[in-house]
């Protein structure tokens, strides 16, 4: 069920059966993963599913209760954070409030004994990289959220980590800023060629940025693969619902639509509205339904419908179409090719 990791001699990060429990809470509960050098790896999942704990295990803030962690082929058991070639961009940024922006960025260099002039130069360059040139003298408190985020990024990048860990770095930003930062982060990652391990619970973010996405649930990875695979071929009911709110087609309905018996996912945007009297296109089944709710989303309208068989479905239709209203009867076309089989449930 897990897509194979991109081949590479030595993975940047490798987990083998890693578990971390807090009392009765199984925060991380047997995770295997392998992140390639230069890969943008997103961890997606609901709150409490173990994403942060995984990141902290890589960074060295937590020690695994079971299993094995390697970074670039080296076992890191017992290695304190300050001896690991990874750096973290914290969710709350964790900028040092008593240091200026420049000093924050230069901190990791100072620790390493880089001379003052040299580290100031490197810090300036790092700040220029994240488009904050000239703000060296400010205090973190004098920055906006997006600026802080970028300082945190510069601070982590300046020490040239082999792997950069980012824990919901955009969570505190507002939508516009978040979108801008997504683009910046992605291009930075490409330019530097680093491995990024990026935690988020925003599926749009994960899909648009990552090379591969791991979906977490209850301390386990329930699917891992490129964004297209995870979105279009969710492995199971959980992924289908969590990533993009797909419809789940139960076996009996699948049979009714003319497909083989089995569990399928069906993306709302694959369902089309049929004009009255128009037959369903080839390879598509037509079904009758009544509209329960319509919601305008700009580019699309989201229709909540109920089939005559009583099944609730969601369809997303282009907003430019004449919109049915709540209570209207509609005919829907469901392309059988859009039914994506999922893991059978036990």
């Amino acid at each position: 069920m897990h897509a194979p990791a991109p081949t590479s001699a030595v993975p940047a990060v490798r987990f083998a059966g890693v578990a971390r429990h807090f009392g009765a809470v199984r925060a991380v509960d047997g995770v295997d993963l392998s992140i390639a050098p230069g890969e943008f790896f997103a961890m997606l999942g609901p709150s409490g599913s173990g994403k942060t704990t995984c990141l902290r295990l890589i960074a060295g803030f937590e020690q695994p209760d079971a299993g094995h962690i390697e970074i670039f082929g080296e076992t890191v058991e017992g290695l304190p954070p300050y001896r690991r070639p990874v750096n973290t961009v914290f969710q709350d940024y964790a900028l040092f409030p008593h240091l200026s922006v420049g000093e924050n960025v230069a901190y990791g260099l100072k620790v390493r004994g880089v001379a003052r002039a040299e580290r100031e130069k490197l810090a300036r360059e790092a700040l220029a990289l994240v488009k904050l040139a000239g703000l060296e003298a400010r205090r973190p408190a004098q920055l906006s959220g997006g600026q802080r985020q970028r300082v945190a990024l510069a601070r982590a990048l300046v020490v040239r980590p082999k792997v950069l860990l980012l824990d919901e770095p955009l969570g505190a930003l507002d939508l516009k800023l978040r979108e801008e930062m997504q683009v910046e982060l992605k291009s930075l990652q490409r330019a530097l060629g680093l491995s990024f391990v990026f935690v988020t619970h925003d599926q749009g973010e994960a899909l648009s940025m990552a090379d591969r996405v791991a979906v977490f649930n209850e301390g386990r990875i329930v699917q891992v693969g490129p964004p297209e695979t995870v979105y279009e071929r969710p492995a199971n009911r959980f992924v289908a619902a969590f990533v993009g709110a797909a419809n789940v087609i139960e076996p009996d309905m699948a049979v009714a639509l003319g497909a083989a018996s089995g569990l399928y996912s069906l993306r709302p945007e694959k369902i089309a509205l049929l004009a009255p009297g128009v037959p369903a296109p080839d390879g598509a089944a037509a079904i009758e339904a009544s509209v329960v709710d319509v919601s305008y989303q700009g580019a699309v309208r989201r229709l909540a419908v109920r089939t005559t068989a009583g099944v609730a479905l969601t369809a997303a239709v282009p907003a430019s179409h004449r919109a049915p209203a709540s209570g209207d009867s509609v005919r829907l076309a469901i392309p059988l090719g859009a039914l994506m089989p999922m893991e059978a449930e036990t």
Binding site: T88, A94, Y107, R112, V159
Partner: protein, 315 residues
């Protein structure tokens, strides 16, 4: 649904509610009303008393009868600069500084442990352990220390048992800090003060440390800083407001104490004793007032510093 049908009563109208309207309409009024009673107390009663007292530093005293001569003069203030008096000031500030530093050094690990590593139960135990000495009589503790520090006292006794009496004697033979025994040395006095005021340092330092987000310490580690460097570069600077807040206590309490130096130390006067002697014993209020100006200036300096580090929030 009865939510919709229930007839919601309007709140009772009363004088208080109308007064509340007035307060909200005039935002300054509420601040004024809140401020008035404490301001009257502290601004009028307390500051007034201070001025009455300190103002007398411009008077002098009739040499024989000990009554105050109410004619302005700088003579009394200039007396502070007589070598014997100036010694007292320097000595006292020196002792207060030593006490403050020692308090900070001893308090820090306790506060740090309690803030960072103690679980809920251990935290409660720490709290009790700090509060209990605060609740046990200051005077009994002072007399207790006299006993501990005595030549034949518990500390020498233990030093003897541990084979450290050589070290103790060596320490006592040092010029400034030494003396015939701990109880009649500056070392003994500083130790006693440190003991007495330690809880006043631990509490604010712990409060300050608890406000340092764990993620900052992790961030330092993440950027390559080992525990020692993290401590120096992150934890200590961020706990500084707490240390300064604690130092306000330790400094001021040491500057003003006259009981400890009467019992422990070298017999050389400190400021509190000088003020006490001058006011109570010698009846020389003008000189007492002049002496009192010194801790006020010292503390003013201190408070300016404290304000700058944000220490007031940590007290």
């Amino acid at each position: 649904m009865s939510l919709a049908t229930f007839d919601l009563p309007s709140p009772r109208e009363g004088a208080l509610r109308r007064f509340s309207d007035l307060l909200l309409r005039r935002g300054h009024l509420i601040v004024l009303l809140l401020l008035a009673p404490p301001l009257i107390w502290l601004g009028l009663v307390y500051l007034g008393s201070l001025f009455v007292f300190l103002g007398q530093s411009i008077f002098s005293i009739d040499e024989f009868s000990g009554t105050i001569v109410r004619e302005p003069t700088t003579a009394t203030l200039l007396e502070l600069f007589r070598p014997a008096n100036f010694d007292i000031l320097m000595r006292t500030v020196g002792i207060a500084t030593a006490v403050t530093l020692l308090c900070a050094v001893i308090a820090f690990p306790i506060a740090y442990y309690a803030a960072r590593y103690a679980g809920p139960r251990a935290k409660a135990a720490f709290y009790l352990a700090v509060m209990m000495p605060l609740w046990s009589s200051y005077l009994v503790k002072v007399y207790g220390w006299k006993l501990l520090l005595a030549k034949e006292g518990a500390i020498s006794w233990f030093a003897g048992r541990l084979g450290l009496d050589g070290a103790l004697d060596a320490w006592l033979s040092l010029p400034l800090v030494g003396g015939p025994s701990l109880s009649v040395s500056y070392t003994g006095m500083v130790l006693t003060f440190t003991y007495l005021w330690l809880p006043f340092m631990i509490l604010p330092v712990q409060a300050a440390l608890e406000r340092v987000p764990a993620s900052l310490i992790e961030a330092a580690g993440d950027l390559g800083a080992g525990p020692g460097y993290t401590f120096r570069s992150v934890i200590l600077p961020l706990a500084m407001p707490g240390v300064v807040a604690g130092a306000v206590f330790t400094f001021s309490l040491t500057l003003g104490d006259y009981i400890v130096p009467q019992i422990i130390g070298t017999s050389a006067l400190v400021l509190g004793q000088a003020v006490y002697t001058l006011q109570g014993t010698a009846g020389n209020i003008p000189l007492a007032a002049a002496f009192s100006l010194v801790p006020i200036l010292v503390m003013a300096l201190f408070l300016t510093l404290a304000k700058r580090t944000g220490a007031f929030d940590a007290m």
